[in-house]
């Protein structure tokens, strides 16, 4: 099960799904992924992304997350820079059957929480054992 979620793109520079019209660097956001009997839960760090600038799609078992980061500074000369600013993009292939209609997402303070409920047929069932 640990391999069910495979990271498709690690390096932002190699994202080849479509050419972007806007120049700039795209970063791969960090994610934590948990699985329970009921669902997959993804927690992602998307600092600087407003809820209206976040685009999440789920199609053919492929989950894509694209967060646009609006420029925060105009022509600033950084005295010191430890990180770059750019859009976030990442996609995952989901091995589990997901009930796409019930996917829900919340973006709060730049932290994304994404719930992917499993389809009924793949949820584990507890087998009642009868005693005679």
């Amino acid at each position: 099960m640990a391999d069910a979620l495979t990271k498709k793109e690690e390096r932002p520079a190699e994202v080849t799904t479509a050419e972007r019209t806007r120049s700039g660097v795209t970063y791969s956001p960090r994610f934590d992924i948990a699985e329970t009997d009921e669902e997959l839960v993804l927690y992602g760090d998307l600092p600087g992304v407003a809820p209206e600038d976040l685009d999440i799609r789920f199609e053919d078992r492929e989950l894509t997350i694209h967060g646009k980061v609006r420029p925060r500074h105009d022509d600033v000369d950084f005295l010191y820079a430890e990180y770059g600013i750019g859009d976030f993009y990442r996609s995952f292939t989901i091995g589990e059957s997901i009930d796409a209609q019930k996917i829900s997402a919340e973006l709060k303070n730049g932290e994304l929480t994404l719930h992917l409920p499993k389809a009924e047929e793949v949820k584990p069932r507890r087998i009642e054992v009868k005693t005679s």
Binding site: M1, L5, D32, E35, G48, L79, Y80, A81, Y83
Partner: protein
Amino acid sequence: MLTTRWQPFGSMMAEMNRLREEMDRLFSRFGWDGGRLLARATYPPLNLWEDEDNLYVEAELPGFELSELEITVTGENQLSLKGERRQPELQGGTWHRQERGYGSFSRLVELPHPVDADKVTAELKHGVLTITLPKREEAKPRKIEVKTG
């Protein structure tokens, strides 16, 4: 007064390696605490810039509320940023991926100019922290009047 360690650079990303070395050098100064060597502080990464009146320090801190961060300025030019990030609780499941870091962090940076500690403000928006540090008067650039004869 220390010699300046913050050098203005043109292209920021191209200079990352050099910046990292600068930073390591900077933090080695704070690496001792009563003889115990502390782990090098690198979280959160910071960007720093200025205009005539203020210094600005920015950090990406997704998932935080401003009240969870401890921001202090001491000795006119030492900025300290502390906080703790906790992992979401998971009941009856397993983690497949854990790429985000957790735990408490503390960063101490030496600012390139003395600042007015009483007037420092901080804003946290969509997980991006911006600290505005007004420069002290003596650090502001002065326009020199040139008299024509």
